[in-house]
């Protein structure tokens, strides 16, 4: 593989348009969504872990700081939804991936059905979690 990439980058050949011209499909969009939410969640977890090591003050003091901002309930509700959605989407779509790994649901119509089901479940669970 390295030989291929070295030769490719060395020859300075132009790259044909691909993601700019290819028609988007639901499985395609959901796949990059799975990766995107995964990276975002990892960033969040790392930020949390690193903050624990580097920032002064304990968790409660940081929560007090947020409380002192006196954010309205709508903003808080929306923020909870925004935090919950990447998690629920990545979790439900993760289950979909595990089903594929078992060899189930790989027919094209099943892909669309399971995809829509994941999206609906994600929105509903995020709404549910944000309401808690």
């Amino acid at each position: 593989m390295e030989r291929f990439w070295n030769k490719n980058t060395g020859s300075n050949r132009p790259l044909s348009p691909h993601i700019t011209i290819y028609s988007w499909s639901l499985p395609m969009a959901m796949s990059i969504g799975h990766r995107g939410t995964g990276v975002a969640l990892s960033a969040g977890v790392s930020l949390f872990g690193l903050s624990a090591l580097l920032l002064p003050g304990n968790f409660e003091s940081h929560l007090e700081l947020v409380k002192s901002l006196s954010l309205g309930p709508v903003l808080i509700h929306s923020a909870k939804f925004a935090l919950a959605f990447p998690l629920t989407y990545h979790t439900w779509n993760g289950v979909r991936h595990l089903m594929w790994d078992l060899g189930k649901g790989l027919k094209i119509p099943q892909l669309t059905q399971s995809g829509v089901a994941v999206l609906v479940l994600s929105v509903l669970s995020s709404l549910g979690l944000a309401a808690m």
């Binding site: 980058t9 990892s42 790392s46 949390f48 872990g49 690193l50 090591l53 929560l63 595990l98 027919k107």
Partner: protein, 159 residues
């Protein structure tokens, strides 16, 4: 063997060329595991049959890594309801470990997909290892010296 005969019979009926199989010896057990959908009648083309590399002398590392990734995913899935229904120090530390590992392996796949240059990939993987190690350390530190992951989420949500 039945599957193999069927494929060549289909091609023969339409006067197509001989079916091109990648391996000369085809075992029925492995074949049926990978041919879940029968080709449509009248279909005549090349089907590349990928058999499990159980006879290869290559390392099983990649295969074990794949399985490990799925096991960790299922573990993490189970820890989520556990964290809600039965928050505890054990769940806190399990979450720290499984979360860090799942995240590390996931980001590793992203690096493999987008970073092609050999030296760049080594650097990226090293940086990732450092980040994952620090994240795990940070989460454990939080579990030990602060309220712990489960309690923290509960406190945040009560806001």
């Amino acid at each position: 063997m039945a599957c193999v005969w069927r494929l060549s019979a289909l091609c023969g009926a339409r006067g197509g060329r001989a079916l091109f199989l990648r391996t000369p010896v085809v075992r029925p057990a492995q074949l049926s595991a990978f041919l879940q959908d029968q080709p449509a009648p009248g279909w005549c083309g090349i089907q590349h049959i990928h058999l499990s590399p159980s006879h290869h002398s290559g390392s099983k590392a990649a295969s074990l890594h794949w399985t490990g990734e799925r096991v960790v995913s299922v573990l993490l899935l189970g820890l989520l309801p556990a964290a809600y229904l039965n928050p505890s120090s054990a769940v806190d530390y399990s979450l720290a470990a499984v979360l860090s590992l799942h995240s590390h392996w996931g980001l590793g796949q992203v690096v493999t997909d987008y970073v092609h240059n050999d030296t760049m990939q080594k650097t990226a993987k090293a940086g990732l290892l450092a980040l994952s190690a620090l994240t795990f350390a940070g989460l454990c530190y939080f579990n030990y010296h602060d309220v712990g992951i489960c309690k923290a989420v509960a406190m945040l949500w009560k806001l």
